[in-house]
């Protein structure tokens, strides 16, 4: 099985007629994701790829299609508004791919989304995929293999690198979740770890963190006390200098806080397997699946 999305997930694409949105909507359709509708204000009535109806508003789209999940590809200027709209329309899972949303806009949208009981993944994330069932976002379907290892990560291509190692080694994945590289994100490591722990079809978990913040340290605490399944971890940014933003808005060592060292120490204290290199994931997971 899986967490958050599966073959029953009915996906709405916000920004389906845009450059990014249309490209990834096609990719999702090809993968077999149930893309039931798209939203672009002013383009209601169009049909995307000959089969996906386009609506002016999310509310209309939800009424017409019964969508439960929205994936957001709109530009950063409109993205916070897209979150408010999806939450208002009764969507239960929002996956926000958009990068570059001002953090204060996200801070304002977050309580609105939460108050409506909606799960937000991202922003600035690659989305998630349950191999063989549903891909919501931009993770390449071709590198994934159905299986029983759950992945959660703050980054995009680094996730692909590690998924790729697992797949090539014949180790499949239950769900791969990219939670995003921004300082404020809707779903954090702990939320996903809890879901994997509760998922009867996940046997082991791989977690990829990076420098900045204390999410990994808190996740390690959570693992120590609440996760009985084996967890293998990686931290990117061991060679990063202090005080410089390493691409991701969230990847920054402030003062003495958020270093790779303190995160790895927390992993070790939680009894996690620690990858020194991405490729180490294969052996570490294999040992733990025995």
């Amino acid at each position: 099985m899986s967490v958050f999305v599966n073959k029953a997930t009915r996906v709405l694409v916000q920004g389906i007629t845009g450059r990014e949105g249309s490209f990834h909507a096609r990719q999702m359709l090809e993968y077999g994701t149930q893309v039931v509708g798209g939203v672009t204000p002013g383009k209601g009535g169009q049909v995307f790829e000959g089969k996906v109806p386009v609506f002016n508003t999310v509310a209309e789209a939800v009424t017409a299609t019964g969508a439960d999940t929205a994936v957001v590809y709109v530009p950063p200027t409109a993205a916070a508004s897209a979150l408010f709209e999806a939450a208002d329309a009764g969507i239960s899972l929002i996956v926000c791919i958009t990068e570059g949303i001002p953090v204060q806009h996200v801070a304002r949208a977050m309580p609105y989304v939460r108050a409506r009981g909606v799960r937000l993944i991202g922003p600035n994330c690659p989305g998630l995929i349950t191999p063989g069932e549903s891909k919501v976002g931009i993770i390449p379907g071709s590198i994934c293999l159905p299986g029983r290892v759950g992945l959660v990560s703050r980054s995009g291509t680094l996730t692909y690198e590690i998924v790729n190692h697992l797949t090539k080694a014949g180790i499949g994945q239950s769900t791969c979740v990219g939670i995003g590289g921004d300082p404020l994100i809707g779903t954090n490591f702990i939320d996903v770890l809890r879901a994997f722990q509760d998922d009867p079809d996940t046997d082991a978990i791989v977690m990829m963190g990076e420098i900045g913040g204390t999410d990994e340290q808190q996740a390690a605490e959570f693992i120590k006390s609440h996760v009985t399944k084996p967890v293998v971890g990686f931290i990117a940014g061991q060679t990063a200098p202090k005080g410089r933003r390493m691409g991701h808005a969230g990847a920054i060592i402030s003062g003495s806080s958020g270093t790779a060292e303190e995160k790895l120490a927390a992993f070790a204290a939680a009894g996690m397997g620690i990858m020194k290199r991405p490729v180490d994931v294969i052996e570490l997971v294999r040992e733990r699946l025995k």
Binding site: P102, V103, A107, R154, T157, N164, D215, G237, T239, G247
Partner: protein, 379 residues
């Protein structure tokens, strides 16, 4: 984005935060004129985007306009942590009764703007937090309501006993909050917030950091950027929409994705090399970005070998290969290039590279080991 103290002061002043008079100068005569206009003792302060200006000699007291000119003369052009001082701020030397700290940051954990205030101001707040946490009060602000009057008052009561000063400080905090929200700040602080012998409450020094994501639609804030504060290569990268940070090593790295870029640097180190930079060409690559990336990396004389590490997802690896081909046709690259490509359109990418006599690898570890060896061989 960091901005200068004098720019932060202007933002606070525009929001009605009371502060001492003062102005910015690029030359000693201008500093002298400002000191004359202010009258009395002044402080001349280097305007650079790093801390520790005082210890580095970048802050000087001047008893009269002549001394202010001398101080400016000595500070302008000074190097502080690798940055050249181009401007000084001249402010009155305030007669100070007390120094407090008032800061506002976007907090990751509470996902809210958080006020931090302390009656122990004028020094590093992290030090206060570590040594005397009871001297700091924190308040997460619900951004949907903003800083409520009673919250500002409660924070101000933590700083002062005198009710007039409490009210003045509360108003300053409300205005600082306005500065924070109106300018998309990730940090806005007053350190120190001072009281004068006649009872006034004033902001003496201010620091503002603007969320980079805010700059897309706020050209007025983008104008506050001082490019002279950035290494030229980083400024060039920013203009080319590349995320680039220069480091001290000799292995240049071109990667797609920030996480993978960091992991690549880490792996270079793991295999005994030293990364020369962080460089993320981003998700939707185009050949032009690759050309710019190579241009920027090759301007660093320390770079002895270059590694491309591309995991094609949205990024088409053939775009990257074409970018390399175009770059090499435009300008000579004198150091060895190791290319690792995998994913979208990799067959085509390999073909393009073969066409210009290059080979590519598909394994990251192998590529990193190879580039480290190349850099060592060249060094």
């Amino acid at each position: 984005m960091n901005i200068h103290e004098y720019q932060a002061r202007a933002l606070l002043k525009a929001a009605g935060v009371p502060m001492l008079d003062g102005d910015v100068a690029s030359t000693p005569p201008v500093a002298e004129a400002i000191a004359r206009r202010i009258g009395g003792k002044v402080v001349v302060k280097a305007q650079v985007h790093v801390g520790g200006r005082g210890k580095a000699g970048g802050v000087k007291l001047a008893a009269n306009p002549g001394e202010a000119a001398d101080a400016a003369e000595r500070i302008l052009g000074m190097q502080i942590r690798g940055l050249t001082v181009h401007k000084v701020l001249v402010v009155p030397a305030a007669d100070i009764s007390s120094e407090a700290y008032v800061g506002l940051i976007m907090d990751r954990e509470t996902q809210r703007p958080v006020f931090m205030v302390s009656p122990a101001g004028g020094i590093d707040i992290e030090e206060v937090a570590a040594k005397t946490p009871e001297k700091i009060r924190r308040l997460p602000v619900d951004p949907t309501y903003g800083l409520l009057p009673h919250q500002a008052l409660a924070l101000a009561f933590f700083l002062y006993k005198d009710f007039a000063q409490v009210k003045a400080a509360a108003q300053i905090m409300e205005r600082l909050y306005t500065v924070f929200t109106h300018n998309g700040c990730s940090l806005a602080e007053i350190n120190p917030l001072v009281t004068t012998p006649d009872g006034r409450v004033l902001a003496l020094d201010a620091k503002v950091v603007i969320d980079d994501n805010e700059l897309f639609w706020r050209p007025d804030l983008e104008e506050l950027r001082d490019e002279s504060e950035e290494p030229p290569a980083e400024a060039a990268a920013r203009r080319a929409n590349l995320s680039f940070i220069k480091l001290d090593g000799n292995v240049g790295c071109v990667v797609n994705g920030a996480g993978l870029a960091m992991a690549t640097m880490d792996l270079v180190k793991y295999y005994g090399g030293e990364p020369a930079n962080f460089l993320d060409i981003g998700g939707s690559s185009n050949p032009e970005k690759v050309v710019n990336a190579l241009k920027i990396i090759t301007t660093d004389p320390n770079v002895k070998a270059i590694l491309f590490n591309i995991f094609g997802g949205i990024t088409r690896t053939d775009d990257v290969a074409n970018g390399i081909k175009t770059a090499l046709a435009q300008f000579p690259v004198k150091v060895p290039i190791v290319v690792r490509l995998t994913g979208t359109n990799e067959a085509e990418a390999f073909r393009i590279l073969q066409g210009i006599g290059m080979t590519a690898l598909s394994d990251m570890d192998e590529a990193v080991q190879q580039v480290v060896r190349a850099a060592k061989g060249a060094a």
